[in-house]
Symmetry: C2
């Protein structure tokens, strides 16, 4: 991790890429930026660990992050695969307490870290901020709900297909946001099963796989998998 020296304007510009801060005035963002830190992380570095006090709100402005929990038996469960731009751990930072999960970079990352104190200050100055945070929380809640539905009702191949469709937002070439074993874990599969699911989809001609890059060759066919 390296804390970067940077003028306020640059940090503020980074903040503007996040939906939560996009609608603030430039001055408000600069004020927030003046109390924050711009940091760069290498792939594999840890942003924070489960049970540490939530001292900073992580604004991921470049890169990808794996958010996971360690279970009593030592196994990991990947909860989110986050890609910039996104907020991480806004709830514990806002409400106080410890991070409920750990986060490590799956690529090199650029982060604006907003100290809890600064965030709370901004929240009293800017009454719309808590509402935006709440909306963020709510959409996170819905993501988890969908995830839960998928885990308990759909087969592995279906989960993989719907994950790929959601990943591209309509584009036909998508990069997996993390190593395959982590994507597999996120989808509730073993690495082996994920690998087999990808081969199966490739065999039907729906997709083509090249390392971490997936080409959606036949979207209709891929969507067909969902309803079977």
């Amino acid at each position: 991790m390296k804390t970067l020296q940077s003028c306020l304007a640059v940090t503020a510009r980074y903040l503007a890429t996040l939906p939560t801060f996009a609608k603030l005035t430039e001055d408000d963002r600069k004020l927030l930026a003046s109390e924050s830190y711009l940091k760069s992380y290498d792939k594999g570095e840890c942003l924070f660990q489960m049970d540490e006090p939530a001292s900073h709100l992580v604004c991921l402005v470049r890169g990808s992050v794996r958010v996971y929990r360690v279970l009593p038996d030592g196994k990991e469960k990947v909860i989110h695969l986050v890609r910039a731009p996104a907020l991480i751990a806004e709830a514990p930072t806002f409400l106080g307490g410890a991070y409920p999960s750990s986060a490590v970079c799956t690529t090199d990352c650029l982060v604006v870290a907003i100290p809890r104190k600064a965030l709370l200050g901004a929240a009293t100055r800017l009454p719309e901020l808590p509402w935006r945070m709440m909306a963020e929380l709510f959409s996170r809640l819905r993501e988890l709900t969908r995830s839960l539905e998928a885990h308990s009702q759909q087969s592995g191949v279906v989960r993989v297909a719907s994950f790929l469709i959601g990943l591209g937002h309509g584009k036909s070439a998508v990069d997996l946001p993390a190593a395959k074993k982590d994507v597999a874990n996120y989808l509730g599969l073993r690495a082996e099963s994920f690998s087999r699911a990808l081969s199966a989809l490739q065999k039907t001609g729906a997709i083509e796989v090249t390392d971490r890059q997936i080409l959606i060759v036949d979207r209709d066919q891929l969507e067909q998998v969902l309803v079977e």
Copy 2:
């Protein structure tokens, strides 16, 4: 559903049983109560349905509710099994939009329904209210996270055991909060598998099952199941 006539004091008393409103002054609760409705529902009645506009916050003060989503293929997934006292659908009511799920009573229920308008009014009068809502949301988020962990990493029997342990809060006799098929669905199991899991636990002597009532005979043994 029957809307009850009731003096403010009674409705306000009901509100006081909910942690979110417990710390308000009695006057604040009465003001909120004056804009709300006290309703009784029979078992099987519907509180609200997915995709309806979220017009009311449901404060469940007596009874149990099953919150579920209907998937594209028509199947249901039970998201929460709620027991009074509890709030239901606070996020969509607070933030606007539609209910993300449906809710039906699994027992006769008593509810204080707070219209969205009244809730927003109270939120501006009482600045701590949004924070409490947010905390509520956050704990919901954590519940879902745990649920997700359980679904993807633990076997059926383990999920059942840990559900039973959590249900009792230390008590040794617990009532299932819904029909077994709904509990099964909540745990990500078919009714048949849930039935078999209960028999298995009963056979080891950890629990005794009588209809919807579970007696935890040997808690140590039940907890032993979790780590195997």
